[in-house]
């Protein structure tokens, strides 16, 4: 009884005012309730390109720099230039771009990388994203004025506003007119499923399904070099042990015709180590977002736990202290903030590291 032809349903529900009639509620009594203004305010945080939704407030470049160095630089670098963890934010834009609204480096095929400020057209995007999702390990913890300040600092690093600038809800629309790539977006494509943008309907590639003698003799133009053979791990272990094809053993050189050795021995899966101690530590790392900066066997922002283990074998107390007090300079210039981890939990993690950080 609830199945309606969609077209009829929609036509019936759009009234002269455009609002869906109250039939929705009448049809499904008892489902849903009105949201309170307080609830809507708590969740409706988005800011549109026309700045609808932007709360009042302000922040200076100088205040933004302080916040940046405390909460942002670990991942993004002191000048937003770092590509170590995420794509760089700052760089690649010029005074001329600010005039034209087109970032010239986007046309240059030899310019290394594309930063956030080279790409973004709408300043609202920056404000909205910092507000909803940053810092990485504590989203939505910045105050409104903090978000203005951090945004002001990034605008200053990009050469868009001067050092003594204060960004606020009153002047943000003016700053929008200076965004370096503000004219850099096009909607003239066929990849939007509706008609809302008046984009084009015709796809931009037109292949035809030729069946016979379609192309000249193909030449292999690109393939993986030999040194990359095992770069994704042993492919024999990434295929089922039975099947029409088995995975190639990429720990050995490529098989040649005439080799007597079996091309691909069925590779039995490795057993799960099922190490409960490691599982407990991994749970704590999730809780304290350690894994945002440290890998077990690979460096991220901070050192790999296995490297820490090699440097401080058995030194449980030292490792507890470092976790709780933070530090900088031993592994690089990006500081590790003090972690609010309990003594008992810190001991669990430190004991695991001191024993070698075994997966």
């Amino acid at each position: 009884m609830f199945r309606f032809p969609k077209a009829i349903l929609v036509t019936a529900l759009i009234t002269a005012s455009g609002f869906a009639a109250a039939q929705g509620a009448a049809k499904f009594p008892g489902i849903g309730r009105d949201a309170t203004p307080k609830e809507v305010a708590a969740w409706d945080i988005d800011v549109r390109p026309d700045f609808k939704g932007l709360p009042a407030g302000s922040g200076t470049v100088a205040a933004g720099q302080d916040i940046w160095e405390g909460k942002c630089a670990q991942c993004h670098g002191f000048f937003g230039e770092s590509g170590e963890v995420f794509s760089p934010i700052i760089g690649g834009v010029t005074k001329d771009d600010i005039k034209t609204g087109h970032v010239a480096n986007l046309r240059a095929t030899n310019f290394p990388g594309r930063t956030t400020f080279m790409k973004v057209a709408s300043l609202s995007t920056i404000w909205d994203f910092v507000n909803r999702a940053m810092p990485w390990n504590a989203p939505k913890s910045l105050s409104t004025d903090d978000v203005y300040a951090v945004t002001a600092f990034m605008l200053n690093l990009s050469g868009i506003v001067p050092d003594n600038f204060t960004l606020s809800n009153k002047n943000i629309a003016e700053v929008q007119k200076l965004m370096p790539n503000r004219n850099g977006m096009t909607h003239a494509h066929a990849l939007w499923p509706g008609k809302e943008f008046n984009g084009v309907n015709k796809p931009d590639t037109q292949n035809v399904a030729c069946m016979k003698d379609c192309a000249p003799e193909p030449k292999v133009a690109s393939f993986l070099p030999d040194f990359a053979r095992n770069a994704h791990g042993n492919l024999a272990e990434q295929n089922r042990m039975v099947g029409a094809q088995h995975g190639a053993d990429t720990t050995r050189p490529e098989r040649k015709v005439g080799d007597t050795e079996s091309p691909a021995r069925a590779t039995a899966p490795k057993a799960d180590s099922g190490n409960n101690e490691t599982k407990a530590v991994l749970a704590l790392m999730q809780k304290y977002t350690c894994a945002a900066c440290h890998g077990i066997d690979k460096k991220i922002v901070g050192p790999a736990f296995m490297d820490v283990a090699k440097k401080y074998p058995g030194q449980v107390d030292y490792l507890i202290k470092k976790m709780q007090s933070g530090g900088v300079g031993i592994w690089g210039q990006i500081p590790m903030p003090p972690q609010k981890i309990t003594d008992a939990e810190a001991k669990t993690v430190a004991t695991w590291i001191a024993a070698g950080a075994i997966k």
Binding site: R3, S17, G18, W192, E217, L224, A231, H232, A244
Partner: protein, 454 residues
Amino acid sequence: MGDELGSGRIQKAPESFLSRDGIKTVFAEAKKGRRDFIRSAFAAAAAGVAAPVAMAQGNPVPLEGGDPNILKLPEHSTGLGQGVASDGGYGKPSKFEANVQRRQSPGLTQTTQASVSFAPLQSLFGIVTPSGLHFERHHQGWWDIDPSKHRLMINGMVKASKVFTLDEIMRLPSVSRFHFIECGANTAVDWGNVAVPTVQYTHGMVSCSEFTGVPLITLLELAGADLKNGKFVLAEGADGSSMTRTIPMSLILSGEVFVAYGQNGEMLRPEQGYPLRLIVPGVQGVSWVKYLRRIEVGDMPYGTKDEAVHYIDLQPDGQHRQYSSIQECKSVVTTPSGGQVLLDKGFYNITGLAWSGRGKVKRVDVSTDGGRNWRTARLEGPTLSKALTRFNLDWVWDGKPAIIQSRAMDETGFVQPTYKQLRSVRGTRSIYHNNAIQSWLVQESGEVKNVQVS
């Protein structure tokens, strides 16, 4: 090779030709271990071509006159097996299947929370991706959210902002539909040149499930949404990134977009947005907002981070295509595919997946000579709109190098492009929406490589 359409049967070909009956006989004889017969069968069929050797190498008759796996009864034939529900009440795959995993591509990302794991397409059958092997893409890590505390809010251009609990959403009339989801960046690393070895890493950011939920239009009606002037809808997640994307109202009005809680007969997996995810058929995965907490109706697009900084397609003139969303028609051969080894010459089933964000797949053609000649593959039913479609094609490998490709066509008549065609329009730096024809080179050694052809 053959030039007939629509059959998928072995066609007459200058090389590697066996009739259907011939193949049956070869298999029957191979089972008996009569290798001499097979040699002669191939020699007769492929006149002028050197006879392939050792057809039954993978399954020879042992010297002792029988296979010990047959002659010596194994423990599972002679002992007592395990009892019901002895696996903790939720069954797991065989331990021998542990190689079949979703995997990260080394070096692609520096964190595991803003990262990707790829589905092992080379090991999957049919069109449904097992929920535990469904590819993952997280922007700020995944969560396992208590469904009794999860809420969905509808606000913006509505008569009354509404709040729904999961209990209420699950009381509404539901739909169950099969759809593919593909990340806009699937196959991105191969835009410029070959960068990864296997189909898992080239195409593994596509998966397909049967999703169950409530059409979004139903919820918008309950809130009294302005369906005429509200041309755009913002979807927002409850995770740390509070992922947001703009969805076109026209797609919602069509009834296609729905709010899902079910996936393949059970609830969504946490990595897939448990307990609530938006389903936007045909549109790239980033719009399928996970942990869906809010829908806002508005009269202009929202320019969120993932539609103003990422998921924008750089064109050769320096402009970015914004709000590019549809995943155009695409296909890939999943076996044989890169990183695999053909065990011997002889018969193989070339199989793969095809899909289109504009509707049903109409036809898939397969080439084994790098795109010079094509044969039409069999489409295995069901062929559903905006869902993965499985195709198969018989093939006898003669032991010579072969370049395998597949080319899909959808019901709009759109034909999957070559790399050359795609690059001539979009260059090589657009990252997203790479739907080019994939090439796998089968070498004489049997090893298969990811290649691009000119």
